[in-house]
């Protein structure tokens, strides 16, 4: 992340992340779709930043060329980078924008990897979670569904990204804050260190 973070964005920012481990070409294709780009533009977005992963450069370049050949949706910039080993906090914060003005509040579109979703939740930026249907195990879908049910995120589907965008613009103002407030019978607020304390014999349980 270099110039993009310094340059002030004209409007809202959409940050797309596919994670560091697995490829997710279908998500990159989905966000390049003409319909989706136009929907973003009309919702007041000026920039899309795509983290496309180690093997996504070829696809990103190809789609960028095709995008530029299309009738222009101006002003709308699409930039990309492969990954940032220092984490994606800077991009997430750029997407979050400053203040509570609707014009500056962007979104994150994330694969359903727990690390990326947690980062977005911690930064406090509205996030559309898109599970990768090509992964054999569907636990990513379960995570997206469970979080969407509790109004933390919007569960996006590859074939209906514009729908997810509409949904998040409605939900944006009532998305719940992260982390969940401890309440109810199960919350001893002891965390893992409390469990470790029990196991090794620090039984005093004193928290200073």
């Amino acid at each position: 992340m270099t110039e993009q973070s310094i340059r002030p964005y004209l409007g809202r920012v959409c940050f797309v992340t596919i994670g560091a481990t697995a490829a997710f070409d279908s998500l990159i294709r989905a966000v390049f779709e003409d319909k989706f780009v136009r929907a973003l533009r009309s919702a007041g977005f000026s920039d899309m930043i795509i983290q496309y992963g180690a093997n996504g450069k070829k696809l990103f370049d190809q789609l960028s060329r095709e995008y530029e050949a299309r009738p222009p949706v101006s002003p709308f910039c699409i930039n990309g980078f492969h990954f940032n080993t220092k984490g994606l906090g800077a991009e997430m914060r750029a997407a979050k924008g400053k203040g509570h003005k609707a014009e500056s509040r962007g979104i994150v579109i994330s694969h359903a990897g727990s690390g990326s979703v947690l980062d977005a939740l911690r930064v406090g930026v509205p996030v559309i979670v898109v599970p990768n249907p090509e992964l054999l195990d569907d636990h990513q879908t379960q995570l997206a569904e469970a979080l969407a049910k509790q109004d933390y995120v919007v569960h996006g589907k590859l074939d209906d990204m514009t729908g997810a965008l509409r949904e998040i613009d409605v939900l944006m103002w009532r998305l719940k804050d992260w982390p969940p407030v401890n309440s109810g019978v199960h919350r001893h607020a002891q965390g893992v260190e409390g469990i470790a304390d029990e196991e090794v014999g620090y039984l005093d349980g004193s928290k200073e």
Partner: protein, 277 residues
Amino acid sequence: MIPTPYFLQACLTLFVITIIAATARAISILPPRPVRRKRARGTPTSMMMVLGSGGHTAEMLAIQRDLDPSKYTHRFWVIGEEDWMSRAKAVEFEEGLVEKVMKSQRERKEEEVSASKELGDGEAKFWYVGPDSYDIFLVPRARKIHQPLYTTPWTALLCLWACLKFLCHCKAAPCPKTTSGFTGPLPVYAFPDVILVNGPATATILVYATLILRFFNFRSAESQGGMRTIYIESWARVKTLSLSGKLLLRVVDRFVVQWPDLEGIGGRGEYHGVVVG
């Protein structure tokens, strides 16, 4: 030479006895284990943590963000050989601990940083931070991404061997001064007191390595009661356990899940809310 029937009979009997004895032994080392003696602050206590990669590393570090180095006086980090990112993050974490302590020291206008005295609520407390208070063990990865399945047993064995080796070479946590009544000679090597693991294959193998050591009570691994294992299922697992979770459900001392649907799974899942928050 044809073995006599008596010889065969003896062999068979011996075999059956071995099986029975091994099963009994296995049952005896599996949880629940006896509760440990109460431990006072200032007792050298070591904690081992496995940083798998990517998401696993991020979750483990989030779990540990409030780690109290005055309780867990020595940390062992287990990291994949080629996982530079996790290695950097472990070092960064330890440096963060130093910074935290230095900050609180500055606030209290104390001078010594490592193992120095801090007065809080009338209780003397010691901090154990800095390069002497942690070790990093590098292990060959049990299974690389996209590694063909049929070569996995071999790499898993290499990983198991590496785990056994470094478990036996954990330096005993140093204990320069103590006010809390810990006396007695310090051993050179000591197994870690508690081991925190989450999903990566390496972590699963490490837990099985501790079981092997305890099974044979190697260097009193079992009778000392150390190597308590805590497994934290990934926050990404909402309704079903991961493969590592399934493999470790019956053998770890504590099994922590992060979604209510998994509470009580296998009679073991504990739910304390989201611990990676």
